[in-house]
C-alpha cells in the first residue's frame, strides 16, 4: 500500500523508499489542532532524521521500549546511559535482552540490538552513571527522556537541567520527558526546566516510602516485613560488623530470610517468605511489559511532537491506572513557587522557639516534599551541624542540643545540604 510514496530529499543511504510512509502522513500536513508554526514536509523530516540528538537515561524496562520507539519514529542520533548490568529478572519485560546477555551492560547490549534491528540509527551507549557527565555533555542534546526507577537520579538530572537554563540562550533549555511505572499504573510528564513544574515540584506526589519505626522493629514486630527489617537493619550489622550487605547476593538474601523466619516463629508471625524478603530488602517494584510499553510510548510520542511541532505536546502530566478498566488523567501540574530547584523563593518553615537543631533535622527527614537523608545545616557565616567529615561532625555535634532560636534569628536563613540532595535547599525560619 505504500509503494507509491517517495521519500523526499531526506533519504540517507540506509533509508528505502516508503520507509516512513506511516510517520510521513503526520509530517507532510498539519491537522486541525497543529500549531501554525509547523513546517510540514522536508524541513521537519530533515531535522528529525539528520539533526536531532536525543538522550535516553535508563536502558531498563522503559529504556528498551523508548529506544525502539525512537528508532522507528525516525530519530537517528540516540544516546543512552545506564549503569546497570542485565539480570534474569529483567527478561520478563526488557525485550532487547536474552538469557545470554545476563551480566552484561544494559546500555551496550540495548544499543547494539537497536542498531542491528533498525538500520541507519546510531545509538551511542554509556555504561556508567549520569553523575559522571557534566553540563557540556547534556548541552549537546535537543531532548532528554528519562526512564528511571531511582528518585535520587531523577532529582539529580532535573536539578542539573534546571541549573543549565541560561535566559540569554534558548538552546540551553532542554525539555525533559519523564516516565515511571508500577504494576498496572504509570505516569509520563513533560518538564520544560524553569517554565513548567519540575520533578522536584511534585515530590510530594510520590508514595511515601514504607519506613518502619525502629522501635517497632526492635520491640513490637507485627508484620512479616518487621521481621525482615529486623534481620537486615539490626541483625546484619550486629553479626557481620563492617561487611556490607549485598542485596544481589543470593547467599545474603538467604541469610536474611532464615534470620527473619526465626524471629517470626518466635513471635508467631506468619508470612515471611524468600520472595517477600527479597522484595523488602531490595525495595522491588512489580513491573510488566505492557505498562512499560504504554508509558514509554507516551514519552516518545511527546518527544516526537516536540521535535517536529506536528502536534501540541503534553501539558504536562499523564497518569494511567489500568487496574479497573482503563483510567487515565491528564492535567497540568503546577509549578511550586517555593520549589528548592526551580522556584527561586526559599522554603518557609515555621517552628516552635523551643525546637532543638536535632528536632529540626528530624522534621526535615520526615517531610515528604523534601526527602533528605542525613542533612547538614548552616546559616550565613555559621556552621550549625555537619554530618561529615568526622572532625567537623564532632565539632558541631554540641549544637544538636541547642535551640534553633539561639542560633538563627526570626526570618533568618538556613542552608541544607546533603549527599543525596543535588542542590542547596534554603529555608527561611520563622518562630511561632
Amino acid at each position: 500500500m505504500a509503494a507509491a510514496v517517495a521519500v523526499n530529499g531526506t533519504s540517507s543511504s540506509s533509508d528505502w523508499e516508503g520507509r516512513y510512509y506511516h510517520v510521513d502522513q503526520i509530517l507532510d500536513r498539519p491537522g486541525p489542532r497543529t500549531d501554525p508554526s509547523f513546517l510540514a514536509g522536508d524541513e521537519v523530516k530533515e531535522f528529525l532524521r539528520e539533526k536531532c540528538k536525543i538522550l535516553v537515561i535508563g536502558a531498563g524496562g522503559l529504556g528498551c521500549e523508548i529506544l525502539a520507539n525512537l528508532a522507528l519514529s525516525g530519530f537517528k542520533d540516540i544516546h543512552v546511559i545506564d549503569m546497570d548490568t542485565i539480570d534474569i529478572s529483567n527478561l520478563n519485560r526488557q525485550f532487547l535482552f536474552r538469557p545470554k546477555d545476563v551480566g552484561n551492560s544494559k546500555a551496550i547490549v540495548a544499543a547494539e540490538f537497536i542498531m542491528n534491528r533498525v538500520p541507519g540509527v546510531k545509538v551511542t551507549p554509556y555504561f556508567g552513571k549520569i553523575q559522571d557527565k557534566d553540563e557540556d555533555y547534556y548541552m549537546q542534546f535537543n531532548l532528554i527522556i528519562c526512564g528511571l526507577d531511582s528518585v535520587e537520579a531523577r532529582r539529580w538530572i532535573n536539578a542539573t537541567l534546571v541549573n543549565m537554563v541560561d535566559p540569554e540562550n534558548p538552546e540551553s533549555l532542554k525539555p525533559l520527558i519523564d516516565g515511571g511505572t508500577e504494576g498496572f499504573k504509570g505516569q509520563a510528564r513533560v518538564i520544560l526546566p524553569t517554565v513548567t513544574s519540575c520533578y522536584e515540584c511534585s515530590l510530594d506526589m510520590l508514595n511515601k516510602p514504607t519506613a518502619f519505626p525502629i522501635c517497632t522493629i526492635a520491640n513490637t514486630p507485627r508484620l512479616p516485613e518487621h521481621c525482615i527489617e529486623w534481620a537486615s537493619v539490626l541483625e546484619w550489622p550486629r553479626v557481620h560488623g563492617e561487611k556490607k550487605m549485598d542485596t544481589d547476593n543470593p547467599e545474603h538474601i538467604s541469610w536474611l530470610y532464615e534470620v527473619a523466619l526465626a524471629r517470626a516463629k518466635e513471635f508467631k508471625i506468619e508470612g515471611v517468605t524468600y520472595s517477600l524478603t527479597q522484595g523488602v530488602v531490595k525495595n522491588i517494584i512489580p513491573a510488566i511489559a505492557s505498562t512499560n510499553a504504554i508509558i514509554a510510548a507516551s514519552c516518545c510520542n511527546e518527544a516526537f511532537k516536540i521535535a517536529t511541532s506536528s502536534a501540541a505536546y503534553l501539558n504536562n502530566y499523564f497518569m494511567l491506572i489500568g487496574t479497573d478498566g482503563v483510567y487515565s488523567y491528564t492535567f497540568e501540574h503546577e509549578k511550586r513557587q517555593d520549589c528548592p530547584v526551580c522556584g527561586g523563593e526559599s522554603l518557609d518553615v515555621t517552628i516552635s522557639k523551643d525546637w532543638t537543631v536535632e528536632r529540626l533535622i528530624e522534621m526535615l527527614v520526615e517531610r515528604q516534599d523534601i526527602q533528605v537523608k542525613k542533612p547538614s545545616l548552616s546559616s550565613p557565616g555559621k556552621q550549625i551541624y555537619f554530618q561529615a567529615p568526622p572532625q567537623l561532625e564532632q565539632a558541631t555535634r554540641p549544637n544538636l542540643e541547642k535551640k534553633v532560636s539561639e542560633l538563627v534569628p526570626d526570618g533568618g536563613e538556613i542552608t541544607v545540604t546533603a549527599t543525596t540532595l543535588p542542590f542547596n535547599l534554603s529555608l527561611r525560619i520563622k518562630y511561632t
Partner: protein
C-alpha cells in the same frame, strides 16, 4: 522455558541454595508479584489468535509473549511492504520486504521467550470465516485480537464469536495516526480477584462473639498501663461502640454532634495523654459511621437478572454468588459478608496484634466453613466439582466481587440514542470514536478519505437533527490527515493497553474494560465510552 535456556540461566548465577526460587520464578519475579502463580498458570494455558501482523499487532503480541502466554497464532497473508519494514520492530527491516509478513514476524517474537509457542497461518481471515472448519478453528482460541481489520470482515468475525458465548472474547482495535479506539467483546466476565485497594470491613459495629467478648472483658481503668497503651484500635472501637449503644438505645452515633461526642469518648478512655493507640482509634472512628452489612455494589450483584448467554465457566461463580446472598440472610450466620482474615497494621504490641489476628483468622475460618456448607446444600453438583481454590478465593474476596456484562462490537453504533447522549456527555471521546467508525466504513468501501466523506458518514450514524460539537471537527480532521498511519508510538501505546486488557481477561484478575477505550495522543488522553 526450554531445557537449554534453564541451563543458561542456572549457569549465569552461582550458588543456588535450596530455599531460593528456580530459574522460571526468577525470570517472572516482577510479574508474579502482581498476578501470582495462579495468574501465571492461566497465562501459560492460554492460546491467542492475532489477526494481522501490523506494527500494532506485533506490539500487542510482544507484551503477551514476554510474560509467557502458552501459544500465539498470527493469521495474515500480507506481503511485507516497505512501509511495514519501516514501522514494525518485529520484521528484519529491508530484508523482510516482499516476504510474508507473519512468517517474518513469528521468529522475532518467539525469541523473546523460549517458553512460548507461536506460528504463522498464512491465510486471510475472510477465507477461514467462509468455511465451517475455519470458523470452528477460530473458536478454539482463548482470545482473538484484531487490528485495523476491514469493517465487513470484522463484523463477520464479531458476529461469529458473539454467537457462541463459550467461545473466545474479541478485542478489536482501530487506529489512524494519533487517534485510536478498541473494544473488548464478551457476554459476561466475572472476577473475584479484583485486587481492590479498598480495605474490607473490619466489622466493628457487628463484632463476632470472640472479639466482642475480648472488648467487654477489659478493665480499662485498672489494667497494666503498658498493655493499655498497646491495645489495638479495633478492640478499642468495638468497646467504645458497645458502651455507646448501651447509653443510646442500641443506636450508633449519627449526627455530627454525636460523632464528635463518640470520638471524645474514645479519647476519654486514655490513661495518659500520649497513648497513640487511642489516637489511632479516634482517627479510625469513621469506620463506625457507615458499615453496611452488605456493601451496595455487592447487594446489586445479588439481584442481577440471570443472563441466558452467561458462559458455562461462570456457572460456579454464579452458584457461589447465590450462596453468598443466602449466607447474608441466613439466621445462623453473621448477617453480613464473610469476614476477611487480613488485618491492616496498627499500633499494638506483638502479643495483642497476633491475638487479634488469630481471632479474625478463626472467625473467617468458621464463616467460610458455614459458607461451604450452604454451598454444598444449595448446589451439591457444582460444589463437588468446583475447584477448592476458586471457592476460597471467592470467599476471601467477597467484598470486592465484580460481574461485567458486555456488548457486541458495533452495538453502540447502532444505538442512535446512546450515541447522541454520549456525544453530549463525553464529546471528545464520542467524537473520536465516531470519526474512527466512519473511517472504518469508508475504508471497507474503498472510498476516498476526505473530511467531507467522513462528515457524511458520521451524519449517517447520528441521523438528522444532531448538532456536531467542535470536537468532531478536530477528530475528523485528524483522521483525514493520517487515515492509514500506524505510527510506531501509537502502535506501542496500544500494544501496552491491549495487552493489559488481554492479561486481565485471561487471568480473571483485576477488572477489564467494558465498552470502547478511546485514545488521543495529541492531547494525550484516554477515555471509556459505550
Amino acid at each position: 522455558m526450554s531445557q537449554t535456556e534453564s541451563q543458561n540461566i542456572e549457569q549465569a548465577t552461582t550458588s543456588v541454595a535450596t530455599n531460593q526460587p528456580d530459574a522460571k520464578t526468577r525470570r517472572y519475579d516482577r510479574q508474579l508479584r502482581i498476578w501470582a502463580a495462579s495468574g501465571q498458570a492461566a497465562l501459560e494455558a492460554s492460546r491467542i489468535l492475532v489477526v494481522s501482523s501490523s506494527a500494532t499487532s506485533t506490539s500487542i503480541l510482544k507484551n503477551l509473549v514476554l510474560p509467557g502466554i502458552g501459544h500465539f497464532t498470527i493469521l495474515d497473508s500480507t506481503i511485507t511492504s516497505p512501509a511495514d519494514a519501516g514501522n514494525n520492530f518485529f520484521l528484519n527491516a529491508r530484508s523482510s520486504i516482499g516476504k510474508l509478513r507473519a512468517q517474518e514476524a513469528v521468529p522475532l517474537l518467539r525469541e523473546l521467550n523460549d517458553a512460548v509457542q507461536g506460528e504463522a497461518i498464512l491465510k486471510d481471515v475472510s477465507e477461514l470465516l467462509a468455511t465451517e472448519q475455519g470458523r470452528d478453528w477460530i473458536g478454539t482460541f482463548s482470545l482473538v485480537i484484531a487490528h485495523n481489520l476491514k469493517k465487513d470482515t470484522l463484523d463477520e468475525l464479531s458476529t461469529l464469536l458473539w454467537a457462541n458465548p463459550n467461545g473466545p472474547p474479541l478485542i478489536a482495535v482501530r487506529s489512524a495516526g494519533f487517534l485510536a479506539h478498541f473494544h473488548v467483546q464478551y457476554h459476561e466476565h466475572c472476577v473475584s480477584q479484583t485486587h481492590s485497594e479498598n480495605a474490607p470491613s473490619l466489622r466493628i459495629t457487628r463484632p463476632f462473639p470472640a472479639l466482642l467478648e475480648w472488648a467487654r472483658s477489659l478493665d480499662l481503668q485498672n489494667m497494666d498501663p503498658t498493655a493499655h497503651g498497646h491495645l489495638p484500635f479495633v478492640v478499642i472501637l468495638v468497646r467504645a461502640v458497645d458502651e455507646w449503644r448501651k447509653s443510646h438505645d442500641g443506636n450508633l452515633p449519627k449526627t455530627r454532634e454525636e460523632k464528635t461526642e463518640f470520638k471524645r469518648s474514645i479519647l476519654a478512655m486514655r490513661l495518659k495523654p500520649d497513648e497513640e493507640n487511642f489516637e489511632e482509634a479516634e482517627a479510625q472512628a469513621w469506620r463506625v459511621w457507615s458499615e453496611p452489612a452488605v456493601p451496595s455494589d455487592i447487594q446489586t450483584l445479588f439481584s442481577l437478572p440471570p443472563l441466558a448467554t452467561s458462559p458455562h465457566h461462570n456457572a460456579t461463580f454464579h452458584a457461589l454468588l447465590e450462596t453468598l446472598a443466602e449466607f447474608t440472610k441466613d439466621p445462623s450466620g453473621p448477617g453480613t459478608l464473610p469476614i476477611s482474615a487480613t488485618l491492616p497494621d496498627m499500633k499494638a504490641d506483638t502479643k495483642s496484634y497476633v491475638q487479634l489476628q488469630n481471632l479474625y483468622r478463626d472467625a473467617a475460618e468458621v464463616e467460610k466453613n458455614h459458607f461451604k456448607e450452604l454451598f454444598a446444600a444449595k448446589h451439591p453438583e457444582i460444589a463437588k466439582s468446583a475447584n477448592p481454590e476458586e471457592v476460597d478465593s471467592f470467599v476471601k474476596n467477597a467484598h470486592h466481587l465484580r460481574v461485567l456484562r458486555g456488548k457486541q462490537l458495533g452495538a453502540f453504533d447502532k444505538d442512535r440514542d446512546a450515541l447522541v447522549t454520549s456525544l453530549s456527555l463525553q464529546p471528545r471521546e464520542t467524537a473520536t470514536h465516531l470519526a474512527l467508525s466512519a473511517l472504518s466504513a469508508l475504508l471497507s468501501r474503498e472510498a476516498d478519505i476526505t473530511v467531507d466523506a467522513l462528515n457524511a458518514e458520521v451524519q449517517t450514524l447520528l441521523g438528522d437533527g444532531v448538532e456536531f460539537p467542535d470536537e468532531l471537527d478536530a477528530a475528523i480532521g485528524e483522521v483525514a490527515r493520517a487515515p492509514t498511519a500506524d505510527l510506531p508510538n501509537m502502535a506501542a501505546f496500544l500494544g501496552g493497553l491491549v495487552a493489559q486488557e488481554a492479561i486481565k481477561v485471561i487471568t480473571e484478575q483485576y477488572v477489564p474494560l467494558n465498552g470502547y477505550c478511546v485514545v488521543d495522543l495529541i492531547d494525550s488522553w484516554t477515555g471509556v465510552i459505550g
